[in-house]
Amino acid sequence: MARLSAENRRKAEAIVAVYPERRSALIPLCHLAQGQDGYLTEEAMEDVAELCGVSPAEVRGTASFYDMLHTEPVGRYVIAVCTNIACMLAGAYEVLGHAEERLGIHSGQTTPDGLFTVEEAECLAGCDKAVCVQVNHRFFGPVDEEGFDRLVEDLAEGRLEGTVPPHGVLCRVERSVGLPAEEPAAGPAGGAPARRGGDS
């Protein structure tokens, strides 16, 4: 897989349609593409470019600014350990060091089986649960060394499939309202409320 699937193209067109200007859909569409392949492939970025009316270079250049968007493959589970101030005070660097040892990789690397990537993260806004950890942007915490081992085992054995979708899948709730009744491809020019009230 690399180009956007037919199903994802439909979703992409629906996303483009909610914005007054189509370029605004660029980041949401990058998330969509990343949800399909786990990272942003060249072909998917070309599709995003075409849908947003910009060049593929602009998509790549924009995506590279943002930490969540990956243009190279990463693990099925990206584990982000926050080491910012509140988590550091709760021993985050010890937990991160333990994580690197447990997985046999350095921060920023992926295990050879492609299952885990570990990252040192900035504050995740879960500071009351320090040390705060996210897996594919789902929250866990407080996490200590033992808690980390349990988390990795649960992930490896598929016990968290329902809670933690594969890397890239972000928002699993689709907007079901306010879309133009017909002609889904073109975004309405003058902004809302040209759109209709949807499924109510």
Binding site: V54, D67, M68, I85, L89, L170
Partner: protein
Amino acid sequence: MLTDRAPIVSARLGHEDSHTLERYLATGGYEGLRKALSMTPEQVHEEVNAASLLGRGGAGFPAGRKWSMLRKASTTYLVVNGDESEPATFKDHLLIERDPHQIVEGTIITAYAIGAAQAFIFCRGEFALGLERLTQAVNDAYAHGALGPSILGSDFSLDLVVHPGAGAYICGEETALLESLEGKRGFPRIKPPYFPAAIGLYGEPTVVNNVETMSNIPWIVRNGGAAFAALGQGSSTGTRLFALSGHVERPGWYETEMSKTTFRDLIYDPKLGGGVRRGRALKAFIPGGVSAPWFFPEHLDMGLDQDAVGKAGSMLGSGSVVVMDETTCAVRAAWRISRFFHRESCGQCTPCREGAGWIDKILRRIEDGLGREEDLDLLLDACDNIAPGLTWPPRQTTICVLGPSIPSSIVSGIHQFRDEFLLHVKEGGCPMPPDEVRHV
């Protein structure tokens, strides 16, 4: 987790299902909207003026006054800032996940007051559950008739788009946020224009308000601006959601009346922070997010009041308080905060981009025992290049205030704990114990 009075923005959070439309409707939800629609937009605006509601995103600008600054135009946008990435700040995250309808209702009422037909909630990308909850809330609000055409049978129509960020602290700065929402890199725009109210999203007049600011609006409309202004003291009206973290027994969020609660209450009250962990002594605390200069034990009896904290040389900022006990290494704390700014600088301005890199490197080498005595002056010099004179509030040589926020922790650390910095140099290493892992 409330204190002396009934909470406003966290009122529903005790319920397991606080994020659902059913619970929202059962607890006064969308009544503020119904009432607002029976008033004129000007009357709604007047109530918010009467409340003297200060923005909760960090700068503390009066919300009603911001709305008055809008340039008259045929298209006006409302953008809600839910990018929350200031280290140690986690109140918007809480409100987004646990009471998304309150944000949606506040957004609809505000859009009505300022005459916007299109609104956006910019939600930090890392909040996967938050994005799901907000999207569901928008779907449900449409179904309830609170969004879309002819809201609740009135002639007011509004669409609301939940927009995901993609991981960049700088996108919390309102002009960078608008760039990002336009599908571009998050580069803050050059000022003037100082406010998006003149030139905002797609060049149109735009109001940008914080998630917690929006969350107060339904209550203000339901109960009247005067009732809100009766809480707190002076210019700090209403209640505020404080995020408490670091070396305290009970880290967490606490909604308290502004000004009336002191830092000592927040950190030590058994119903609030419960004291410094393991009964240790307090070394320092950060009163309002890592951009704020540090406070010390002598500041404990100050109220959580925007003006008082400002006068004492710091800021209440994003309402996040970080506690550091006596075992904390001041160099390591200042280094970690500086490292954050280094990583998150967007790179447009030389003093910020280069200065942050230098400061990160110098603090790191002091912590690692490779520092020299002159490094302290070098650090202050690098800070002075970013914020000349090292005054508070800082002077600015940069496009946005991320740069001038960098010196806060370094200047605080060096001024208060100079000997500890020098001891690192003399002993060729960190004299403090390593951080202890918090077990639970």
